[in-house]
Amino acid sequence: MYEQFRTKAVGVGAEVHRVASKKDALDFILTFLEEEGVADAPGRYAVWADGPFLGGVDRGVLAGVSGLSLEVTRERAARAKVGISEMSWAVADTGSLVQDQSASDQRLASSLTEIHIALVPAANIVADKPSLFARINPKTSRYIAFITGPSRTADIERVLTIGVHGPERLIIVFVDEQGGAKQ
């Protein structure tokens, strides 16, 4: 299912990575932030919305990253280049990510920034909508968000253009260690 997901997600312009451990994921993100020039300056910030992944991470390491903030306010997110958040489910047949984003920081980090890094437990790839719909529930989740590739438009002359109001890059990082064995 991972391969199918990858094909579909890449097909709509997402970048897909897979790492074994949480440590590898953290390394990937920190390297990425550095490469993208994230720094303590408006327009170059990074924001990281809270979630289970962060639960096991040494926050001291993150505090030392210049420009990175774990507190996601609209001011901060609006001036951030990179937003990091966790997504609960990956749907293989459309290459989509799904999460309960009732908390606004989850949406700010994944919609205002230029780049969105989405962390997903590799064990949570499901085949299709029926299997997804068995796992989501609007009675307990007030804002269920599906994200499929970066923000796009074709409103001018039907030319596909990436990055309108949402992120222009969606980087998906599957983590094997988190909640499941390697598939």
């Binding site: 908390a103 029926p130 968000a145 309108v164 109001h165």
Partner: protein, 711 residues
Amino acid sequence: MKKEFKASINKALNDANLTGALGKFSEAYKVNRSKAYEGMDFEALRSRIAEAKSSAACHLSEVADTFQKNAEALGAKVFRTSDPQEVKQYILKLAKDNGVRSVVKSKSMATEEIHLNKTLLESGIAVAETDLGEWIIQLAGQTPSHMVMPAIHMTKEEVSELFSKEVDERLSTDIPRLVKVARNELRPKFLAADMGISGGNIAVAETGSIVLVTNEGNARLVTTLPRIHVALVGVEKLVEKFETVAPILDALPRSATAQLLTSYVSIISGPTPNDDGSMKEMHIILMDNRRTEMAQDPKFKQALQCIRCGSCLNVCPIFRLVGGHVFGSIYTGGIGTILTAWFDELKKSEDIQGLCIQCGNCTQVCPGKLDIPEMILEIRRRLLLEKGQPLVQKAIFGVVNNRKLFHGMLRAASIAGKPFTSGKFIRHLPLFLSDLTDGRSLPAIAEKPFRDIFPAIEQPKGREKAVFYAGCLIDFAYPEMGVALVKLLNKAGIEVTFPEEQTCCGAPALYNGAYEVAAQNAVDNIKVLLEEEAQYVVSACPTCTVALAHEFGKTLETLGRTGWLAKAKELADKTMDLSTLVKRLVEQGRLSFKEGEELGKVTYHDSCHLKRTLNVSKEPRELLQKAGYEMAEMFECDMCCGMGGSYSMKLPEISAPILQRKLRNIKETGAPVVAMDCPGCVMQIRGGFDQDGAAVRVKHTAELLADRLED
């Protein structure tokens, strides 16, 4: 048709940007859509959607009650009204009470329907459309020309011009750069807005949820950043169960833009906290605006199954030529015609309903299983009831209902047409009739109609008998097609009879909304065609076949002439189109073609009624191949040729470019022969090639097959 309407059509037809963009899009759409649906059972999917939506439409007010109860339990405020004025007052009051100075909107046809922006702006509230296409047309002061792609009619040069004015800077026409400008311009508006207004693609009663489907990400910002969220939802968006969301999400993006899924889908169930910790104020307005009335009308209830994907526009041969603005309203295309007739008034649809050529393309792709052509016919019928038949039409149909007079006039026309004929064509008609021969010659009326030829053809006497229903075109313009049909059937040992009392099938009257005339034609034909004991009633004209096999019953039922229904059914059960019957005879070994000769390439044009109502498309192809032809498929083989009966006479300016496209597609195959099963299509396409000059022979399948019978 009004002069202004004709003028707007001509303006659109001469707009190269518009027809270029729409033409390219529609050609690519067909391919991309099928790719998007690969591996899916579209028929099963759309049945599921149609059933769920139809069920909601049957109990609209209960479903709305359930929605209201559940959404309110979650903390949303639900306002229900049938009156667009009340919607505007509600939003305005809400804005005033909360000191709202600026509003950001994500795409919502319902807000366009009631012209909400105007109301807000007049009250001093700033409104920004944030969907890129909607923002472009807002800046241009226009209305959307397409349901899903509102600015498809504009070029990057025009957009650059608009944006340059807006940002007071000379911008290039680089599209990614223009998109960035929109992002940068709209971002501060999102962050500053006090109220976000969205529509709703689906409203789920059992959970009180609103589902929003977008690509740009603007709906996520509209529903996240401002402290108040208002969702304006037409009640046709209601579904009972949450499980219905999945099939609609399967279909909507695939049908709208050939995507597997849009970039973003949000399922919002009640208010969520704002980023400052306060609770968002969420208002959901369920707007009726005559939708309930529509749901109670047996002919129009199905319109509530629409999921607003716009695929009916994308496959429409007319829409891709004229675009949305000629429809003069917010909702465009075939579905727009229907919605305008209801949400505005029936009279408003008077001109635009005439744009539908009844080709049926839209019925094949509609994920809500709407029969748009049928609803447009019903509009035609009701307009006629309201206004009465135009005098000329009345005179014509008066003749059509009097067979002796009608056939007498056709015979007379053979003589009267002489001054204009050259060979088998009428090339140029004088004065106001000249449009009819512009780009297409008309067939000369045959000197000897089929009914005068038939008695001389000796019939085999056997057990099996077929009644031949010729229809006007074969009888009076193309008797040779009738002769070919008789030859084929005789060869298989079938005796053909031709009742002379048969008359017009009523299709011209029906497609003009004149049901009374069509019903009389039906009754007259039923009587004579059932008089003789025969196994089949066979026709070589798909429109006639559809009349006999489908429309007679429907028309009589609509008019309450139920006494005739049993007979209509008896006739329908016996009726068969030529290719289907011949294929059966070949399979039974009763007919075979000469072998050993290679006849070269033939291309096949699918006629609308044959392909989409009778579901016949493989049969003629297989027969032609069996007869020795090599099949060379043309691009868009099943796209209408632009004939559409009297359509080509009423709107020749639209019919002509459709025909030109067809001629081009035929020529590109390199085949010297094009075959088809409909004499109407032959009339259109043969007439087109006569003026075009290309040496392509245009033949009815029956003729090509009859030529290849074994001696």
